[in-house]
């Protein structure tokens, strides 16, 4: 079974700068890390491989610095890793990002299972996984907290409102996993020593089947960020500093009739 895991490099802090003109995130000069939710997807892939054999390939769209998270994935046990890096891919929304990753996956090879984290901590949309599945014309299940191999595919447990539905999907299919699926392992120094400077593939748009740059990045996106602004701070509030704030809060709660 060949598994592809989508990973992303995200800012390590949430104090990031945004280009006021284009609304695009300025990623330079900010400490970064692997999106924490992707660790669960990678862990799931590594466990499936340990149990059933196969390969685990990771891939990320990002600047060349994103090699750092591919290296981290190698240290956790991934077999092969790709950075899809090209200036023309920048500024992509969900539609263009999903397309880029689907083209990237086509360019790398054929996979039985594609795994994604439930969402990223910088975009927080949780939409790219299902978008990739649609571009690849394969079924998907999202927010999966239990995944088992079964026959020619997987059984995925989807938690919906008041009901858990487990669906069987034949390969190829895509699954986004919840963070309670497995506890991710730590990168291993032993593995790091074993793999040495195992190469990371860096590919641009020219390796894709569709090389029309109008389909990627900002120009391939359907949404535009018109404006970035700080949240309104217009809530009128009472400021309590000195004195017995517990007593004061108790009487306030009485006044509001909560007690």
């Amino acid at each position: 079974m060949n598994i592809f895991v989508c990973i992303k490099q995200v800012p390590a802090t949430n104090k990031v700068q945004v280009d006021e003109e284009t609304g695009v995130l300025k990623r330079g000069g900010v400490a970064s890390k692997m999106n924490p939710y992707d660790l669960y997807a990678l862990e799931t892939a590594l466990r499936l491989k340990a149990e059933h054999g196969g390969t685990v390939t990771v891939g990320t769209m990002g600047p060349p610095q994103a090699q750092a998270i591919v290296r981290e994935a190698y240290m956790m046990g991934a077999d092969d890793g790709y950075v899809f890096s090209d200036r023309r891919l920048g500024g992509a929304d969900v539609l263009a990002t999903g397309y880029t990753l689907s083209q990237a996956i086509h360019s790398v090879g054929d996979f039985d299972l594609i795994l994604c984290g439930k969402q990223t901590t910088d975009g927080d949309t949780a939409q790219v996984g299902p978008a990739i599945a649609e571009y690849l014309s394969i079924p998907h299940a999202a927010w999966v907290s239990k995944l088992t191999l079964s026959g020619d595919g997987v059984d995925a447990e989807q938690q919906l409102q008041d009901v858990i539905e487990t669906v069987h999907m034949p390969f190829p299919c895509l699954v986004t996993v919840e963070q309670d699926i497995f506890m991710p392992r730590l990168p291993s120094l032993k593995t790091a020593r074993e793999i040495g400077d195992k190469p990371i593939h860096i590919q641009g748009l020219d390796t894709f089947l569709d090389t029309d740059e109008a389909h990627y990045g900002l120009s391939g996106s359907a949404t535009q960020v018109e404006r970035i602004f700080p949240p309104a701070n217009d809530t009128e509030h009472e400021l309590w500093q000195d004195g017995d704030n517990a007593e004061r809060l108790e009487s306030q709660l009485k006044k509001w009739k909560f007690i």
């Binding site: 800012p11 949430n14 104090k15 990031v16 945004v18 609304g23 995130l25 924490p36 969900v94 539609l95 263009a96 999903g98 901590t121 927080d124 939409q127 299902p130 599945a133 649609e134 014309s137 079924p139 998907h140 299940a141 999202a142 927010w143 989807q158 919906l160 409102q161 008041d162 009901v163 858990i164 539905e165 487990t166 669906v167 999907m169 190829p172 919840e178 963070q179 089947l209 569709d210 391939g220 996106s221 359907a222 949404t223 535009q224 960020v225 970035i228 602004f229 809530t235 009128e236 509030h237 009472e238 400021l239 309590w240 500093q241 704030n245 809060l249 709660l253 509001w256 909560f258 007690i259």
Partner: protein, 395 residues
Amino acid sequence: MAKIAVLERKCTGCGLCVKNCPFGAIDMPNGKPELNAACKVCGICVKSCPEHAIIKLETKTEDVDKSKWNDILVYTEVSGGRLHPVGLELIGKALELAAPVGFKVKAVLVGSGVAGYAEELRHYGVSEVAVYDDPELGYFRADAYASCVEDYIKHAHPSVVLVGATSLGRSLAPRLSTRFRTGLTADCTRLELRQNTDLVQIRPAFGGNIMAQIVTTHTRPQFATVRYKVMSAPVRNDVASGDILARKLPKAVADSNASLVSVTAVPPKKSISDAEILVVGGRGLQKESDLDMIKELASLLGGDWATTRPLVEKGWTTNERQIGLSGRTVRPKLIITCGVSGAIQFTSCMNASDHIVAINSDKDAPIFDVAHIAIVDDLYKVVPELISRLKEARA
């Protein structure tokens, strides 16, 4: 320009695409399909290829004629045998948006045994409820459900499609928006509709303390998801209005090769979203056992407790207890935050609460911008003292 491409590596040369192409646009000169000038990029070959070897090379569609896309469609989710209340909230918002531009509001129901809910929806001001009711839809498969909504969108041409940001909705919406090669904005906290029918979508963004205003200017429909408890449900009208439109199951539903393994009903879980009073612990808590006083205060007030993301990442509690963009949105009557600094991902998911009390020793903490009562004090002083006062009052 969009075009069709064949992944030769995957193609088995079965010839199904040639048979299915309505335009005779595919030849197989060397045992592999090649497209000729008759291709209209309809995508029928893409869907019919069993090997997924044919793909459409396209992202966003060409500029559309916006005047042909009218009205607002709300996806009204039914799962676990219940109409999700977020659907009514979205109808409420859609009615507000629709009036100034003369749009109607329509709803679509997908599932098995869902026809009964259409009658109920007629009491909320919609002009039409489209119903896809079939045993084939008895469990959630994003691709099959997407095919039903796709069928209705192609029939009704809505300008805007609103979907509740539930786990079902957030799985369905990106599949649909991608199918229409159009824009989708997740977790909108504010929506406005311009005279030119562009939907202004505002959401917290970029993982920072900042809001983004997003528009989908060249394509239709415009998809947006909105969380439960962000908008207000409309008042139920005694008199029902609007039509019910029973739709046939689209053929494409049969293309989904996902199948049901099992269904387990889980008792409606008490969710922090349903609590009327919430006490929240944040990073200001020094150790895991300090959560006990948060729980105790919550129980003394007859409410529930919740946390911020850092505490979930530390493993002190689970995602179900987390308020924020990667957790739940809440709108209780009273919320008391203790040691919460107030990143936008948190505040945007609780700032609609009726009464907000924030306790934090840092007077510059952003949580105070949304608080009605800002207590600049040590939570380790205020919370235990309030607990003992409440206990005393009880005794």
